[in-house]
Protein backbone atom coordinates (compact mmCIF):
# COMPACT_ATOMS: atom_id res chain seq x y z
CA UNK A 1 0.00 0.00 0.00
CA UNK A 2 1.69 3.16 -1.22
CA UNK A 3 0.59 6.76 -1.56
CA UNK A 4 0.14 6.08 -5.30
CA UNK A 5 -2.28 3.26 -4.56
CA UNK A 6 -3.97 5.42 -1.93
CA UNK A 7 -4.76 8.03 -4.57
CA UNK A 8 -5.93 5.38 -7.01
CA UNK A 9 -8.24 3.87 -4.38
CA UNK A 10 -9.52 7.35 -3.55
CA UNK A 11 -10.61 7.75 -7.17
CA UNK A 12 -12.05 4.28 -7.53
CA UNK A 13 -13.74 3.68 -4.19
CA UNK A 14 -15.31 7.11 -3.95
CA UNK A 15 -16.62 6.77 -7.53
CA UNK A 16 -14.79 9.95 -8.49
CA UNK A 17 -13.14 8.24 -11.43
CA UNK A 18 -16.56 7.10 -12.62
CA UNK A 19 -17.78 10.69 -12.31
CA UNK A 20 -14.92 12.05 -14.44
CA UNK A 21 -15.09 9.32 -17.08
CA UNK A 22 -18.88 9.36 -17.07
CA UNK A 23 -19.28 13.08 -17.55
CA UNK A 24 -16.80 13.27 -20.42
CA UNK A 25 -18.20 10.13 -22.04
CA UNK A 26 -21.71 11.54 -21.77
CA UNK A 27 -20.74 14.78 -23.50
CA UNK A 28 -18.65 12.85 -26.01
CA UNK A 29 -21.68 10.82 -26.99
CA UNK A 30 -24.26 13.59 -26.86
CA UNK A 31 -22.17 16.35 -28.51
CA UNK A 32 -22.16 14.99 -32.10
CA UNK A 33 -25.69 13.70 -31.62
CA UNK A 34 -27.05 17.12 -30.76
CA UNK A 35 -25.01 18.70 -33.59
CA UNK A 36 -26.44 16.20 -36.06
CA UNK A 37 -30.04 16.56 -34.97
CA UNK A 38 -30.10 20.14 -33.64
CA UNK A 39 -32.13 21.37 -36.56
CA UNK A 40 -34.71 18.62 -36.12
CA UNK A 41 -34.82 19.10 -32.34
CA UNK A 42 -35.37 22.84 -32.65
CA UNK A 43 -38.04 22.23 -35.25
CA UNK A 44 -39.96 19.97 -32.86
CA UNK A 45 -39.68 22.12 -29.74
CA UNK A 46 -40.10 25.49 -31.46
CA UNK A 47 -43.43 27.36 -31.74
CA UNK A 48 -45.89 25.94 -34.30
CA UNK A 49 -45.52 27.51 -37.70
CA UNK A 50 -41.98 28.68 -37.08
CA UNK A 51 -39.35 26.93 -39.20
CA UNK A 52 -35.74 27.11 -38.06
CA UNK A 53 -33.19 26.70 -40.81
CA UNK A 54 -29.62 25.81 -39.83
CA UNK A 55 -26.74 25.14 -42.18
CA UNK A 56 -26.06 21.42 -42.64
CA UNK A 57 -23.76 20.22 -39.82
CA UNK A 58 -20.14 19.49 -40.64
CA UNK A 59 -17.89 17.06 -38.70
CA UNK A 60 -16.27 19.89 -36.74
CA UNK A 61 -19.70 20.77 -35.27
CA UNK A 62 -19.73 17.46 -33.38
CA UNK A 63 -16.46 18.37 -31.69
CA UNK A 64 -17.67 21.90 -30.98
CA UNK A 65 -20.58 20.65 -28.91
CA UNK A 66 -18.35 18.25 -26.99
CA UNK A 67 -15.65 20.84 -26.26
CA UNK A 68 -18.23 23.38 -25.16
CA UNK A 69 -19.72 21.06 -22.53
CA UNK A 70 -16.44 19.42 -21.53
CA UNK A 71 -14.69 22.74 -20.96
CA UNK A 72 -17.36 23.82 -18.49
CA UNK A 73 -19.05 21.00 -16.61
CA UNK A 74 -16.26 18.51 -17.25
CA UNK A 75 -13.64 20.94 -16.00
CA UNK A 76 -15.72 21.69 -12.92
CA UNK A 77 -15.92 17.98 -12.06
CA UNK A 78 -12.17 17.58 -12.59
CA UNK A 79 -11.44 20.51 -10.29
CA UNK A 80 -13.75 19.28 -7.55
CA UNK A 81 -12.27 15.79 -7.68
CA UNK A 82 -8.73 17.14 -7.69
CA UNK A 83 -9.45 19.50 -4.79
CA UNK A 84 -10.80 16.63 -2.69
CA UNK A 85 -7.43 14.89 -3.01
CA UNK A 86 -5.06 17.84 -3.08
CA UNK A 87 -6.57 19.73 -0.13
CA UNK A 88 -5.14 17.00 2.11
CA UNK A 89 -4.76 19.33 5.09
CA UNK A 90 -8.50 20.06 5.13
CA UNK A 91 -9.06 17.62 8.02
CA UNK A 92 -6.24 17.87 10.54
CA UNK A 93 -6.58 14.43 12.12
CA UNK A 94 -6.54 12.79 8.69
CA UNK A 95 -3.61 14.90 7.55
CA UNK A 96 -1.60 14.08 10.68
CA UNK A 97 -1.61 10.39 9.75
CA UNK A 98 0.25 10.95 6.48
CA UNK A 99 2.09 14.21 7.20
CA UNK A 100 3.92 12.71 10.20
CA UNK A 101 5.04 9.75 8.11
CA UNK A 102 6.74 11.55 5.23
CA UNK A 103 9.81 13.73 5.10
CA UNK A 104 8.29 16.22 2.68
CA UNK A 105 4.83 17.22 1.52
CA UNK A 106 6.15 16.52 -1.98
CA UNK A 107 5.79 12.80 -1.24
CA UNK A 108 2.04 13.27 -0.76
CA UNK A 109 1.57 15.90 -3.42
CA UNK A 110 3.20 14.23 -6.40
CA UNK A 111 1.04 11.07 -6.36
CA UNK A 112 -2.12 13.07 -5.67
CA UNK A 113 -1.37 15.49 -8.49
CA UNK A 114 -0.25 12.84 -10.96
CA UNK A 115 -3.12 10.45 -10.38
CA UNK A 116 -5.75 13.18 -10.56
CA UNK A 117 -4.18 14.75 -13.64
CA UNK A 118 -4.09 11.30 -15.24
CA UNK A 119 -7.75 10.75 -14.38
CA UNK A 120 -8.63 14.11 -15.94
CA UNK A 121 -6.68 13.24 -19.08
CA UNK A 122 -8.33 9.82 -19.19
CA UNK A 123 -11.75 11.43 -18.98
CA UNK A 124 -10.99 13.94 -21.69
CA UNK A 125 -9.47 11.29 -23.96
CA UNK A 126 -12.41 8.93 -23.48
CA UNK A 127 -14.87 11.74 -24.18
CA UNK A 128 -12.91 12.93 -27.20
CA UNK A 129 -12.66 9.43 -28.65
CA UNK A 130 -16.39 8.92 -28.13
CA UNK A 131 -17.09 12.27 -29.83
CA UNK A 132 -14.68 11.40 -32.64
CA UNK A 133 -16.34 8.02 -33.24
CA UNK A 134 -19.85 9.36 -33.15
CA UNK A 135 -18.93 12.32 -35.33
CA UNK A 136 -17.49 9.90 -37.88
CA UNK A 137 -20.70 7.87 -37.82
CA UNK A 138 -23.14 10.77 -37.92
CA UNK A 139 -21.32 13.65 -39.61
CA UNK A 140 -18.21 12.36 -41.30
CA UNK A 141 -14.57 11.80 -40.49
CA UNK A 142 -12.24 14.14 -38.61
CA UNK A 143 -8.58 14.72 -39.58
CA UNK A 144 -6.74 12.19 -37.34
CA UNK A 145 -3.51 14.13 -36.84
CA UNK A 146 -5.23 17.39 -35.96
CA UNK A 147 -7.73 15.61 -33.73
CA UNK A 148 -5.02 13.83 -31.79
CA UNK A 149 -3.05 17.05 -31.43
CA UNK A 150 -6.18 18.82 -30.21
CA UNK A 151 -6.75 16.08 -27.64
CA UNK A 152 -3.15 16.51 -26.48
CA UNK A 153 -3.55 20.28 -26.14
CA UNK A 154 -6.83 19.83 -24.24
CA UNK A 155 -5.21 17.28 -21.95
CA UNK A 156 -2.35 19.66 -21.22
CA UNK A 157 -4.84 22.30 -20.20
CA UNK A 158 -6.42 19.88 -17.72
CA UNK A 159 -2.97 19.17 -16.25
CA UNK A 160 -2.57 22.92 -15.80
CA UNK A 161 -5.99 23.13 -14.14
CA UNK A 162 -5.13 20.33 -11.67
CA UNK A 163 -1.78 22.02 -10.92
CA UNK A 164 -3.67 25.24 -10.25
CA UNK A 165 -5.86 23.36 -7.74
CA UNK A 166 -2.73 21.99 -6.06
CA UNK A 167 -1.26 25.47 -5.69
CA UNK A 168 -4.47 26.96 -4.34
CA UNK A 169 -4.96 24.02 -1.93
CA UNK A 170 -1.52 24.76 -0.49
CA UNK A 171 -2.70 28.22 0.45
CA UNK A 172 -6.27 27.54 1.59
CA UNK A 173 -7.26 24.44 3.53
CA UNK A 174 -10.86 23.69 2.56
CA UNK A 175 -11.83 21.53 -0.41
CA UNK A 176 -14.59 23.84 -1.62
CA UNK A 177 -12.45 26.93 -1.07
CA UNK A 178 -9.62 25.43 -3.11
CA UNK A 179 -11.98 24.39 -5.90
CA UNK A 180 -13.81 27.73 -5.93
CA UNK A 181 -10.68 29.85 -6.03
CA UNK A 182 -9.10 27.65 -8.72
CA UNK A 183 -12.23 27.96 -10.88
CA UNK A 184 -12.24 31.72 -10.39
CA UNK A 185 -8.60 32.03 -11.42
CA UNK A 186 -9.17 29.90 -14.53
CA UNK A 187 -12.22 31.99 -15.43
CA UNK A 188 -10.25 35.22 -15.03
CA UNK A 189 -7.49 33.80 -17.22
CA UNK A 190 -10.07 32.87 -19.84
CA UNK A 191 -11.51 36.39 -19.79
CA UNK A 192 -8.04 37.95 -20.01
CA UNK A 193 -7.30 35.59 -22.90
CA UNK A 194 -10.10 37.14 -24.90
CA UNK A 195 -8.54 40.59 -24.64
CA UNK A 196 -5.93 41.41 -27.22
CA UNK A 197 -3.13 39.08 -28.21
CA UNK A 198 -2.41 37.80 -24.71
CA UNK A 199 -4.68 34.82 -25.23
CA UNK A 200 -2.18 33.18 -27.51
CA UNK A 201 0.15 32.81 -24.53
CA UNK A 202 -2.35 31.77 -21.91
CA UNK A 203 -3.03 28.09 -21.13
CA UNK A 204 -6.76 28.77 -21.26
CA UNK A 205 -6.51 29.10 -25.05
CA UNK A 206 -5.85 25.35 -25.17
CA UNK A 207 -9.45 24.71 -24.17
CA UNK A 208 -10.66 25.41 -27.68
CA UNK A 209 -7.65 23.89 -29.47
CA UNK A 210 -9.39 20.64 -30.41
CA UNK A 211 -12.27 22.43 -32.06
CA UNK A 212 -10.05 24.99 -33.77
CA UNK A 213 -7.65 22.38 -35.11
CA UNK A 214 -10.37 20.27 -36.71
CA UNK A 215 -11.51 23.51 -38.33
CA UNK A 216 -8.06 23.88 -39.87
CA UNK A 217 -6.42 26.30 -37.41
CA UNK A 218 -2.65 26.34 -37.47
CA UNK A 219 -1.29 23.91 -34.81
CA UNK A 220 1.73 26.15 -34.29
CA UNK A 221 -0.55 28.88 -32.93
CA UNK A 222 -1.03 26.82 -29.78
CA UNK A 223 2.61 26.08 -29.09
CA UNK A 224 3.23 29.18 -26.92
CA UNK A 225 0.23 28.42 -24.73
CA UNK A 226 1.26 24.76 -24.53
CA UNK A 227 4.77 25.69 -23.45
CA UNK A 228 3.43 28.13 -20.87
CA UNK A 229 0.94 25.54 -19.59
CA UNK A 230 3.67 22.92 -19.16
CA UNK A 231 6.05 25.32 -17.43
CA UNK A 232 3.30 26.82 -15.27
CA UNK A 233 2.09 23.36 -14.22
CA UNK A 234 5.55 22.43 -13.00
CA UNK A 235 5.91 25.78 -11.25
CA UNK A 236 2.51 25.48 -9.57
CA UNK A 237 3.27 21.98 -8.26
CA UNK A 238 6.66 23.18 -7.01
CA UNK A 239 4.92 26.12 -5.30
CA UNK A 240 2.35 23.78 -3.73
CA UNK A 241 5.09 21.55 -2.32
CA UNK A 242 7.10 24.49 -0.99
CA UNK A 243 4.15 26.22 0.65
CA UNK A 244 2.58 22.98 1.87
CA UNK A 245 5.78 21.92 3.60
CA UNK A 246 5.87 25.17 5.57
CA UNK A 247 2.22 25.02 6.56
CA UNK A 248 1.57 24.12 10.18
CA UNK A 249 -1.05 21.63 11.26
Amino acid sequence: MSLWRLEWLRLVRTRRLVAILGIYLFFGLTGPLSARYLSAILGRVGPPGVKIELPPPVPADGVTQFVSNASQIGLLVVILVAASALAFDARREMAVFVRTRVDSVREILVPAFTVNAAAAIAGFVVGSLAAWYETAVLLGGLPPGRTLLGIAYGSLYLVFAVAMVAAVAAVVRGVLAAAGIAVTILLVLAVVGNIGAAGRWLPTSLVGALEALVRNADPVDYLPAAAIAAAASAALVWFAAAVGTRREL
Binding site: M1, E93, M94, V96, F97, T100, R101, V102, D103
Partner: protein
Protein backbone atom coordinates in the same frame (compact mmCIF):
# COMPACT_ATOMS: atom_id res chain seq x y z
CA UNK B 1 17.80 12.31 26.69
CA UNK B 2 15.73 11.50 23.65
CA UNK B 3 13.87 14.83 23.72
CA UNK B 4 15.20 18.13 24.98
CA UNK B 5 13.76 21.58 24.57
CA UNK B 6 15.08 24.86 25.85
CA UNK B 7 13.20 28.10 26.05
CA UNK B 8 10.54 26.70 23.76
CA UNK B 9 8.00 29.38 22.99
CA UNK B 10 5.02 29.38 20.67
CA UNK B 11 2.99 32.50 20.12
CA UNK B 12 -0.40 32.66 18.44
CA UNK B 13 -0.70 36.38 17.92
CA UNK B 14 0.02 37.82 21.34
CA UNK B 15 -1.06 34.66 23.17
CA UNK B 16 1.77 32.43 24.36
CA UNK B 17 0.65 28.83 23.93
CA UNK B 18 4.10 27.80 25.18
CA UNK B 19 6.27 30.09 27.24
CA UNK B 20 9.90 29.12 27.69
CA UNK B 21 9.43 25.38 28.09
CA UNK B 22 12.57 23.45 29.11
CA UNK B 23 11.67 19.80 28.72
CA UNK B 24 13.89 16.74 29.03
CA UNK B 25 12.57 13.25 28.42
CA UNK B 26 14.78 10.26 29.13
CA UNK B 27 15.10 7.48 26.59
CA UNK B 28 12.80 4.57 27.34
CA UNK B 29 10.53 6.45 29.71
CA UNK B 30 6.77 6.83 29.56
CA UNK B 31 6.36 10.56 30.08
CA UNK B 32 3.01 12.09 30.94
CA UNK B 33 2.16 15.65 30.00
CA UNK B 34 -0.63 16.93 32.19
CA UNK B 35 -2.30 20.26 32.44
CA UNK B 36 -5.69 21.91 32.10
CA UNK B 37 -7.28 22.60 28.72
CA UNK B 38 -5.31 25.26 26.87
CA UNK B 39 -2.15 24.60 28.87
CA UNK B 40 -0.19 23.91 25.67
CA UNK B 41 -0.02 20.11 25.64
CA UNK B 42 -1.18 19.66 22.03
CA UNK B 43 0.96 22.56 20.85
CA UNK B 44 4.02 21.01 22.49
CA UNK B 45 3.35 17.63 20.89
CA UNK B 46 2.75 19.36 17.55
CA UNK B 47 6.15 21.04 17.75
CA UNK B 48 7.91 17.86 18.80
CA UNK B 49 6.33 16.03 15.86
CA UNK B 50 7.40 18.74 13.42
CA UNK B 51 3.85 19.73 12.49
CA UNK B 52 4.26 23.14 14.11
CA UNK B 53 7.21 25.46 14.35
CA UNK B 54 8.30 27.15 17.56
CA UNK B 55 8.36 30.93 17.70
CA UNK B 56 11.54 30.76 19.77
CA UNK B 57 13.69 28.22 21.55
CA UNK B 58 15.36 24.99 20.57
CA UNK B 59 14.17 21.45 20.12
CA UNK B 60 16.55 18.52 20.07
CA UNK B 61 15.19 15.09 19.28
CA UNK B 62 17.68 12.26 19.20
CA UNK B 63 15.81 10.21 16.58
CA UNK B 64 14.99 10.86 12.95
CA UNK B 65 11.49 11.96 12.03
CA UNK B 66 10.74 8.55 10.53
CA UNK B 67 11.54 6.94 13.90
CA UNK B 68 8.87 8.92 15.71
CA UNK B 69 5.09 8.88 15.46
CA UNK B 70 2.24 11.09 16.58
CA UNK B 71 -1.22 9.84 17.41
CA UNK B 72 -3.80 12.67 17.61
CA UNK B 73 -6.57 12.59 20.17
CA UNK B 74 -9.21 11.64 17.61
CA UNK B 75 -7.39 9.80 14.83
CA UNK B 76 -9.19 9.74 11.50
CA UNK B 77 -8.48 7.93 8.29
CA UNK B 78 -9.98 7.89 4.82
CA UNK B 79 -13.25 6.07 5.48
CA UNK B 80 -13.01 3.94 2.34
CA UNK B 81 -9.77 2.29 3.49
CA UNK B 82 -9.85 -0.95 5.45
CA UNK B 83 -8.08 -1.30 8.77
CA UNK B 84 -5.49 -3.51 7.14
CA UNK B 85 -4.86 -0.93 4.42
CA UNK B 86 -4.35 1.85 6.97
CA UNK B 87 -1.69 -0.15 8.80
CA UNK B 88 -0.19 -1.31 5.50
CA UNK B 89 0.12 2.29 4.34
CA UNK B 90 1.81 3.27 7.59
CA UNK B 91 4.20 0.35 7.18
CA UNK B 92 5.08 1.34 3.62
CA UNK B 93 5.75 4.92 4.64
CA UNK B 94 7.87 4.40 7.72
CA UNK B 95 9.07 0.81 7.88
CA UNK B 96 8.92 -1.00 4.55
CA UNK B 97 11.48 -3.45 5.87
CA UNK B 98 8.97 -4.77 8.43
CA UNK B 99 7.49 -8.09 7.23
CA UNK B 100 3.92 -7.94 5.92
CA UNK B 101 2.73 -10.47 8.48
CA UNK B 102 3.49 -7.88 11.17
CA UNK B 103 0.42 -5.98 9.92
CA UNK B 104 -1.84 -8.78 11.10
CA UNK B 105 0.07 -9.04 14.36
CA UNK B 106 -0.33 -5.39 15.34
CA UNK B 107 -3.98 -5.45 14.32
CA UNK B 108 -4.42 -8.51 16.49
CA UNK B 109 -2.62 -6.81 19.39
CA UNK B 110 -5.01 -3.88 18.98
CA UNK B 111 -8.00 -6.22 19.08
CA UNK B 112 -8.96 -5.46 15.50
CA UNK B 113 -8.41 -8.81 13.81
CA UNK B 114 -12.06 -9.34 13.01
CA UNK B 115 -12.59 -5.78 11.77
CA UNK B 116 -9.33 -5.59 9.81
CA UNK B 117 -11.00 -6.18 6.45
CA UNK B 118 -13.81 -3.69 7.07
CA UNK B 119 -13.73 -0.08 5.92
CA UNK B 120 -12.79 2.24 8.75
CA UNK B 121 -15.78 4.49 8.03
CA UNK B 122 -17.76 1.99 10.07
CA UNK B 123 -15.35 1.88 13.01
CA UNK B 124 -16.30 3.19 16.44
CA UNK B 125 -14.20 5.91 18.05
CA UNK B 126 -12.48 3.37 20.26
CA UNK B 127 -11.66 1.20 17.27
CA UNK B 128 -10.22 4.21 15.45
CA UNK B 129 -8.07 4.96 18.48
CA UNK B 130 -6.78 1.40 18.56
CA UNK B 131 -6.26 1.43 14.81
CA UNK B 132 -4.26 4.62 15.23
CA UNK B 133 -2.09 2.89 17.79
CA UNK B 134 -1.67 -0.13 15.50
CA UNK B 135 -0.64 2.15 12.63
CA UNK B 136 1.77 3.83 15.03
CA UNK B 137 3.50 0.75 16.42
CA UNK B 138 3.84 -0.98 13.02
CA UNK B 139 6.77 1.31 12.32
CA UNK B 140 8.43 0.29 15.59
CA UNK B 141 9.09 3.95 16.40
CA UNK B 142 11.66 4.98 18.95
CA UNK B 143 9.51 7.88 20.08
CA UNK B 144 5.71 7.93 20.33
CA UNK B 145 3.75 11.10 20.89
CA UNK B 146 0.21 10.33 22.04
CA UNK B 147 -2.25 13.18 22.41
CA UNK B 148 -4.99 12.28 24.89
CA UNK B 149 -4.90 8.64 23.78
CA UNK B 150 -7.74 7.47 26.01
CA UNK B 151 -9.79 10.56 26.66
CA UNK B 152 -12.71 9.72 24.40
CA UNK B 153 -12.99 6.05 25.20
CA UNK B 154 -15.37 4.09 27.38
CA UNK B 155 -13.83 2.28 30.39
CA UNK B 156 -13.19 -0.93 28.44
CA UNK B 157 -11.63 0.92 25.53
CA UNK B 158 -9.54 3.01 27.92
CA UNK B 159 -8.29 -0.11 29.63
CA UNK B 160 -7.25 -1.63 26.30
CA UNK B 161 -5.39 1.50 25.22
CA UNK B 162 -3.61 1.82 28.57
CA UNK B 163 -2.57 -1.82 28.33
CA UNK B 164 -1.23 -1.18 24.83
CA UNK B 165 0.77 1.79 26.10
CA UNK B 166 2.08 -0.20 29.07
CA UNK B 167 3.09 -2.90 26.60
CA UNK B 168 5.27 -0.35 24.80
CA UNK B 169 7.39 0.27 27.90
CA UNK B 170 10.92 -0.80 27.18
CA UNK B 171 10.33 -0.84 23.42
CA UNK B 172 9.98 2.89 22.86
CA UNK B 173 9.90 6.25 24.58
CA UNK B 174 6.33 7.44 24.98
CA UNK B 175 5.20 11.00 25.61
CA UNK B 176 1.49 11.13 26.25
CA UNK B 177 -0.72 14.03 27.14
CA UNK B 178 -3.75 13.41 29.24
CA UNK B 179 -6.09 15.11 31.62
CA UNK B 180 -7.03 11.74 33.12
CA UNK B 181 -4.55 11.79 35.98
CA UNK B 182 -5.26 8.23 37.02
CA UNK B 183 -4.08 7.08 33.59
CA UNK B 184 -0.90 9.11 33.87
CA UNK B 185 -0.18 7.81 37.34
CA UNK B 186 -0.79 4.25 36.15
CA UNK B 187 1.39 4.14 33.06
CA UNK B 188 3.91 6.99 33.35
CA UNK B 189 7.18 7.02 35.21
CA UNK B 190 7.88 10.69 34.61
CA UNK B 191 5.59 13.63 34.30
CA UNK B 192 5.53 17.22 33.14
CA UNK B 193 2.92 19.63 34.41
CA UNK B 194 1.97 22.45 32.08
CA UNK B 195 0.02 25.50 33.13
CA UNK B 196 -0.70 28.39 30.80
CA UNK B 197 2.16 27.42 28.52
CA UNK B 198 4.72 27.07 31.30
CA UNK B 199 6.24 23.81 32.46
CA UNK B 200 5.88 24.11 36.20
CA UNK B 201 7.21 20.63 36.99
CA UNK B 202 9.14 18.04 35.04
CA UNK B 203 10.69 14.91 36.45
CA UNK B 204 10.06 11.44 37.81
CA UNK B 205 6.56 10.85 39.11
CA UNK B 206 7.97 9.85 42.49
CA UNK B 207 9.75 13.20 42.81
CA UNK B 208 6.45 14.94 42.24
CA UNK B 209 4.54 12.86 44.74
CA UNK B 210 7.13 12.34 47.46
CA UNK B 211 7.24 15.19 49.88
CA UNK B 212 3.80 16.33 48.84
CA UNK B 213 1.96 13.57 50.64
CA UNK B 214 2.23 12.44 54.26
CA UNK B 215 3.20 8.75 54.50
CA UNK B 216 0.23 6.80 55.75
CA UNK B 217 -1.45 3.42 55.82
CA UNK B 218 -5.09 2.49 55.32
CA UNK B 219 -6.14 -0.31 57.67
CA UNK B 220 -9.46 -2.12 57.18
CA UNK B 221 -10.48 -4.23 60.16
CA UNK B 222 -13.49 -5.69 61.95
CA UNK B 223 -15.22 -3.33 64.38
CA UNK B 224 -14.64 -2.11 66.99
CA UNK B 225 -11.74 -0.01 65.77
CA UNK B 226 -11.23 2.25 68.80
CA UNK B 227 -9.09 -0.15 70.90
CA UNK B 228 -6.81 -0.66 67.90
CA UNK B 229 -6.65 3.10 67.28
CA UNK B 230 -5.64 3.68 70.91
CA UNK B 231 -2.87 1.06 70.62
CA UNK B 232 -1.56 2.74 67.50
CA UNK B 233 -1.63 6.24 69.04
CA UNK B 234 0.68 4.97 71.78
CA UNK B 235 3.45 4.32 69.22
CA UNK B 236 6.07 7.02 68.78
CA UNK B 237 6.43 6.30 65.03
CA UNK B 238 2.71 6.88 64.47
CA UNK B 239 1.97 10.53 63.76
CA UNK B 240 -1.82 10.36 63.51
CA UNK B 241 -4.72 7.92 63.63
CA UNK B 242 -8.09 8.84 62.13
CA UNK B 243 -11.16 6.68 61.82
CA UNK B 244 -12.33 6.96 58.22
CA UNK B 245 -15.32 4.67 58.67
CA UNK B 246 -16.73 2.09 61.08
CA UNK B 247 -14.13 -0.43 59.91
CA UNK B 248 -11.32 1.74 58.59
CA UNK B 249 -8.38 3.68 59.99
CA UNK B 250 -5.97 6.08 58.35
CA UNK B 251 -2.67 5.73 60.15
CA UNK B 252 -0.11 8.46 59.59
CA UNK B 253 3.46 7.29 60.14
CA UNK B 254 6.94 8.81 60.30
CA UNK B 255 8.16 6.59 57.45
CA UNK B 256 6.61 3.83 55.40
CA UNK B 257 9.66 1.63 55.88
CA UNK B 258 9.32 1.91 59.65
CA UNK B 259 5.62 1.10 59.46
CA UNK B 260 6.28 -1.94 57.31
CA UNK B 261 8.34 -3.36 60.17
CA UNK B 262 6.19 -2.41 63.15
CA UNK B 263 2.58 -2.00 62.08
CA UNK B 264 1.65 -5.71 61.73
CA UNK B 265 3.04 -6.45 65.20
CA UNK B 266 1.07 -3.63 66.85
CA UNK B 267 -2.12 -4.72 65.13
CA UNK B 268 -1.58 -8.30 66.23
CA UNK B 269 -0.85 -7.25 69.81
CA UNK B 270 -4.06 -5.20 69.87
CA UNK B 271 -6.06 -8.22 68.73
CA UNK B 272 -7.14 -6.50 65.54
CA UNK B 273 -9.04 -8.63 63.01
CA UNK B 274 -7.38 -7.18 59.92
CA UNK B 275 -9.21 -7.34 56.58
CA UNK B 276 -6.64 -5.43 54.55
CA UNK B 277 -3.60 -3.30 55.04
CA UNK B 278 -1.96 -1.06 52.47
CA UNK B 279 0.11 2.10 52.25
CA UNK B 280 -1.86 5.09 51.09
CA UNK B 281 -0.57 5.96 47.62
CA UNK B 282 0.10 9.64 47.11
CA UNK B 283 -2.51 10.93 44.68
CA UNK B 284 -1.40 12.73 41.52
CA UNK B 285 -4.72 14.49 41.38
CA UNK B 286 -4.12 16.22 44.73
CA UNK B 287 -0.63 17.28 43.67
CA UNK B 288 -1.87 18.41 40.26
CA UNK B 289 -4.61 20.54 41.77
CA UNK B 290 -2.11 22.04 44.18
CA UNK B 291 0.29 22.88 41.35
CA UNK B 292 -2.20 24.18 38.84
CA UNK B 293 -4.46 26.14 41.16
CA UNK B 294 -1.87 28.77 41.95
Amino acid sequence: MIVETSGLTKLYGSHAALDGVDLAVAQGSVFGLVGPNGAGKTTLLGILSGLRRPTAGDVHIAVSRRRMALLPDTPQFDPWLTGTEVVALARTLVAPQVPRQRIDEVLNDAGLSEAAGRRVGGYSRGMLQRLGLAATVIGQPDLLLLDEPASALDPAGRREVLDLIAHLRGQATVILSSHILGDVQEVCDAVGVLRAGRLIFSGPLEDLLVGRAVPAYRVHLRAPVEPVADALRAQDWVTSVDATGVDSLRVGVRALAEAELRLPAVLAAAGARVISLAPLAPDLEDVYLELTSG
